[in-house]
Amino acid sequence: MSDPILATHSLSRSFGALKATDNVSIDLRAGEIHAIIGPNGAGKSTLIQQISGVLAPDQGRIELLGEDITRLSTVTRARAGLGRTFQISALAMEDTVFENAMLGALGARGNPWSFWRAAKRDTALSETALAALEQVGLAEARDMRTADLSHGQRRQLEVAVALTLAPRAFLMDEPMAGLGASGSKQMTGFLDGLRAEAPILLVEHDMDAVFALADRISVLVYGQIIATGTVDDIRKDAAVRAAYLGEDL
């Protein structure tokens, strides 16, 4: 087995007496979708925030491509190849869809210090941005104001911005949230193809999507990983059934 792209080692983080992340060690291997599931408040978002660098862990280590990134800023981690999407869309709402994608392209270039030439005349930037919009099916909406997009389109744009970065690993916090059945299905199909570009650490509530997509699933309960395995392992695991999935599965 090759080295993991992304790994956490004994990661812990408390909020007061609450252990939101408790000794979490997971890894993400090339080509896979590793889903993190768990009930509300289990600590999924807290885990994503530590990996992306928004929140500092109390203990433990995070490695990307074998490098220790635990102490790096969000900005440096993004440059090192982490592509993140937010649970609640974080987009420039006053800007157009295209401009949001352009921001990602600019981030990929790593140099925003260009003061004179119009951004939209910069063909390298626009091509990166447009390719990402096309990939998620938003090319038609490129000139719409982001605030006017439907919820589902915003979720797509979140993913498109991450795509422009051509990251080494994706971190996605509930990309299906609020998408509805057909939107979910569409996004599922899309993420299925995406794993070939870079592996995805996927936090997701939608169980149909998780069971359809995941190569491996880790179950997080009260900040602890109680099980990691394939879809079949997890379906069978008694502890998981008791803690999370319910007996009707």
Binding site: T76, A92, E94, A108, F115, A119
Partner: protein, 327 residues
């Protein structure tokens, strides 16, 4: 409704036409008023880069206006008294040359903006406003106590500084210089806004977390905006001092910082012509209403209130029918 570009042409043509008309009918004071409007507009164009694009509510932009003013005052003072300026063990000649003064005013303001920005940008929201205000007050009281350059009384410069090929003592010629600099600053502003830098800054104002996630540093973007902003406002300060042939600590006053914000809000925050329209309105009201009543600021307040309540995009927003950025 009118598109943004024709509006810019219209407003600038009007600002150019008024002093030309005044010249024709021999009303030199109106030329001075137009010059004052152009200079205040330039100062506000500077502030608008920080405020409108970067979302930085700086209540201390008079610092840069004052620095520009004192750069002019000090250099011209040493030239007119034939005394060298002793600083850092160097002995520098004063100068009456506008291009040199402008360069110094711009560079020193940029340097000050970098230092102030570096400290202030560790905070945001109300704290940012308070820190910039505090810096403004520090400079204000420093200028008052700086007796070498007139202290509270300020510095008078006997003859307006010179510009190659221009007779700056002729009001319309000095106006032309100020107007040209205003146009240049507006052009720069438009370029910045459309450039990749403007795109990133615009996003940094709205969603700094997103900007970080794509690997760009929002604070650094805002710092650069603050430096460019301070430099332009500093240049305006040098012109303002030359217009009055006088500098005093009031150029550092927080009231001036506040007035700059007010005229931008009235004109349209983050809109290219917002500061220009705001400054023209401000100077017009100041002159006409100020002649009728000492309390003309009350009317300004009413206008501000109406704009904030009913027209968030300011006058540019009303004229173009587009709301514009939120700060």
């Amino acid at each position: 409704m009118i598109a943004e570009r024709p509006l810019a042409v219209l407003v600038l043509t009007a600002l150019l036409a008024v002093p030309l008309w005044a010249l024709a009918v021999d009303e030199p004071f109106t030329i001075t008023l137009a010059t004052r409007a152009a200079i205040l507009a330039l100062a506000a164009v500077g502030l608008n880069i920080a405020l409108g694009m970067g979302g930085l509510v700086s209540l201390g932009h008079a610092v840069f206006f004052g620095i520009g003013g004192y750069a002019m005052g000090i250099l011209a003072y040493h030239a007119q008294t034939y005394t060298p300026l002793e600083i850092f063990g160097l002995s520098i000649e004063g100068t009456k040359s506008m291009p040199v003064i402008w360069l110094v005013a711009t560079l020193v303001s940029a340097l000050a903006a970098w230092g102030i920005g570096l400290l202030s940008l560790r905070t945001s929201g109300v704290y940012f406003i308070m820190i910039t205000l505090a810096f403004g007050q520090m400079f204000y009281y420093f200028a008052i106590s700086w007796s070498a350059y007139g202290g509270e009384d300020g510095l008078s410069i006997y003859v307006r500084n010179g510009f190659p090929g221009v007779n700056t003592l002729v009001p319309i010629q000095f106006f032309a210089l100020c107007f040209a600099l205003l146009c240049a600053a507006l052009f720069l502003n438009a370029r910045l806004q459309a450039a990749p830098f403007g795109l990133a800054l615009n996003a940094a104002r709205q969603v700094p977390a997103r900007v970080e996630t794509v690997g760009l540093n929002p604070v650094r973007l805002k710092l650069v905006a603050f430096v460019v902003s301070g430099a332009i406002t500093g240049l305006a300060g040098a012109l303002f001092a030359d217009l009055n042939r006088f500098v005093s600590p009031t150029m550092f006053s927080w009231q001036l910082s506040g007035e700059l914000i007010v005229l931008i809000v009235i004109g349209g925050v983050g809109r290219l012509m917002g500061p220009v329209i705001g400054a023209c309105l401000f100077v017009t009201l100041e002159h006409w209403l100020g002649g009728i009543t000492e309390f003309w600021h009350v009317f300004l307040g009413v206008i501000l209130l109406l704009i904030v309540l009913f027209a968030r995009g300011g006058l540019v927003g009303l004229l173009t029918g587009k709301e514009g950025p939120h700060v």
